[in-house]
């Protein structure tokens, strides 16, 4: 009985040591690596695709309409050809070229919107936490209020009133709705941090407020900020795709959401033209999975208790 327990515990420790070694460097987290790999893959499609494939094929009528991918047949019984390896859509656009142009566009909107939102959040969060008083009240109430309003609905009103916009404009509009969660996060952290030993120390040694904010506090916030950033990239892309699927968003630039919109409107689902809507859908899904994996991985990096032994 005693022997058994000893061997069992030894086994566990050996297993733990192996695991511990693997997690020795927290950044070599499998989720983080997988997530980053997926996103890099999508970026690579965008870059390599522009070199090895003709991006001009995204224009209308660059091929026959509704051609199937290689190895499949469309409704007219035509087999797919290597001229359009992933088939063509209802207007003869090459689906592969649509992915090459559209996927990086979605990521671009997400990252830009999130970056702007983050900058606003850092500014407002630190202001609220440091100045306190009335400023804090206003910022807190405003972020509480804005977090309740679904961005999609205000943007629908905006788009319906203004018509066509470009990608940067869309990112700026979305950014107006993704600053709330970083603001709240930073405010809460700053309020708790300002009483901590090292901040008091810095204040006693006469460091300027700017120095305390950006040199003492900000580095400690990095893991939270990164997590919040990635979450906001997801929210921004979801909002952008939502607009595009409603037929809004940029009208002249190919986006994955707009491709899906056109496919649904042309009855691609009933006509079994799965490559037209399905391939962009899968690519978007992969993008979201990649972002989620990065976020889960980052959680484990910054919070060692989540790392399972």
């Amino acid at each position: 009985m005693a022997d058994q327990t000893v061997t069992q515990s030894e086994e566990v420790t050996a297993k733990q040591i192996r695991r511990m070694k693997r997690f020795d460097n927290p950044w070599r987290n499998p989720k983080l690596i997988w997530g980053a790999g997926i996103l890099l893959g999508i970026v690579a499609i965008g870059i390599l695709g522009r070199i090895f494939w003709d991006p001009d094929l995204v224009f209308t009528g660059s091929g026959m309409t509704r051609q199937a991918p290689v190895g499949f047949e469309n409704l007219r019984g035509q087999a797919g050809t290597w001229a359009h390896p992933l088939g063509t859509d209802g207007a003869g656009r090459d689906v592969l070229a649509l992915l090459i142009i559209g996927a990086p566009n979605s990521l671009f909107v997400g990252v830009l919107a999130s970056l702007i939102g983050m900058s606003i959040g850092i500014f407002l969060g630190f202001s609220a936490g440091f100045i306190r008083g009335r400023t804090d009240d206003v910022i807190r109430v405003l972020s509480d209020v804005m977090i309740t309003i679904p961005p999609l609905l205000i943007l629908v009103v905006f788009q319906a009133a203004y018509g066509d916009i470009n990608l940067t404009m869309m990112a700026i509009l979305i950014a107006a709705f993704v600053w709330q969660s970083p603001t709240r996060l930073i405010r809460a952290q700053v309020l708790s941090m300002r009483e901590s030993g090292y901040v008091q120390m810095a204040r006693l040694s006469g460091a300027s407020t700017m120095h305390i904010m950006f040199r003492e506090m900000l580095p400690n916030l990095v893991p939270y900020l990164f997590g919040s950033f990635i979450a906001n990239v997801t929210t921004s892309i979801v909002t952008a795709v939502g607009l595009e699927v409603l037929g809004l968003g940029p009208q002249r630039i190919p986006t994955l959401g707009r491709t899906i919109y056109e496919a649904i409107n042309s009855g691609a689902l009933i006509q079994n033209l799965w490559w037209w809507w399905g391939i962009p859908t899968i690519l978007l899904a992969l993008m979201f999975i990649g972002l989620l994996l990065i976020n889960l991985g980052l959680d484990e990096v910054s919070n060692p208790r989540l790392r399972k032994l």
Partner: protein, 336 residues
């Protein structure tokens, strides 16, 4: 019964009113800044229907007067605020004499019904699976399968909706492709209609459920880990209570309450996601109404739908904030 401090209540009420006020103002200002004139679009629609319209200048002026566009902006704004409080969003320009509020009232029950059903199902499934991930006695398969399924939680419901629609409606034809009830049944409280509604609502609800349960499961996992180490759980185990009894009565019961606050943060995304699901399934809710209005450039309907959805969201958050302290006595309010 614990009492809610007045300062907390006042704070929540102010937030609710500010939310509704800011949303209403944004919805009003944005189209005013745009160069597109709603009266012009209306006239364009008449011209499209009748070839050419005689005396178009007069009609345009009359339309502007009807829409109140000839008055100073500040008066228009206050009139609008007054109207919106009474849910008067004016008349739809696409289906002209119908008031927007009537269109919204017709669509709203479908949206609320679909939303309640999918939220209740996800809440139960998500929390149960999240609890099982932590529970010592759950089979290993569960501990491997659930985290794998979580990967789908980052996908917006429109994408899962498309995939499910293709597999179960277009390919297998187990479920109807679009609509919220069959064309061969009369709306009413009878058996055939109910079956038809359930049959049509299954896929839209499922596409929301498969991508949102993981959110609850993740939150529940974190809460269960803390509950697992609590003294009362240890005591229950020491007493020799059945593990299943401990899971339901001691662990889940204590862990589930903070999940309700997570709801307040999530509801905005849920609403937006459902609007899109309704659009692809052509489900008779406000999402479809909004999409049709976008196609027709029907501003009053777009404004009305957006406002009503934001109002619903704000009210839901308000209720969660209000109810939560009543059901969880561990929370004490401070002013903030």
């Amino acid at each position: 019964m614990p009492r809610i401090p007045a300062s907390y209540l006042i704070n929540r009420v102010i937030t609710l009113f500010l939310t509704v006020f800011i949303a209403a103002t944004l919805i009003w200002i944005i189209p005013r800044l745009s160069p597109i004139d709603p009266a012009d679009i209306m006239l364009g629609r008449m011209a499209a229907g009748a070839g050419s319209v005689e005396g178009s200048e007069d009609i345009l002026a009359q339309l502007r007067e009807n829409f109140g566009l000839d008055q100073p902006l500040i008066i228009q704004y206050f009139k609008y605020l007054g109207n919106i409080i009474t849910f008067d969003f004016g008349l739809s320009t696409a289906s002209f004499p119908t008031p927007v509020s009537a269109l919204v009232a017709e669509a709203l029950p479908w949206t609320i019904g679909l939303m309640l059903i999918s939220i209740i199902i996800t809440f139960i499934i998500g929390n149960l699976l999240g609890a099982l991930m932590v529970w010592d006695h759950s089979p290993n398969l569960v501990k491997v399968a659930i985290p794998a399924a979580m990967v789908f939680t980052s996908i917006p419901p429109i994408l899962s909706g498309l995939l499910l629609m293709w597999i179960f409606a277009a390919k297998l034809q187990w479920f109807p492709l679009t609509g919220s009830y069959g064309l061969n049944v009369e709306p009413g409280w009878d058996w055939d209609f109910m079956i038809s509604v359930l049959h049509h609502g299954f896929l839209p609800a499922l596409s929301i459920v498969v991508v949102t349960f993981g959110f609850w499961a993740l939150g529940m996992r974190g809460l269960m880990i803390t509950v697992q180490g609590e003294d009362y759980t240890k005591l229950a185990e020491a007493k020799g209570l059945r593990p299943r009894y401990i899971l339901y009565r001691y662990m889940i019961r204590n862990a589930i309450l903070p999940q309700i606050t997570a709801f307040a943060l999530k509801i905005g995304m849920l609403v937006a996601g459902q609007v899109l699901v309704e659009r692809i399934f052509a489900y008779n809710g406000v999402g479809k109404l909004l999409y049709d209005a976008i196609l027709d450039q029907d501003f009053p309907v777009i404004q009305g739908v957006s406002f009503v959805i934001i109002l619903m969201t704000a009210l839901a958050v308000f209720l969660v904030d209000l109810v939560y302290p009543l059901i969880d006595p561990r929370i004490r309010h401070e002013g903030a």
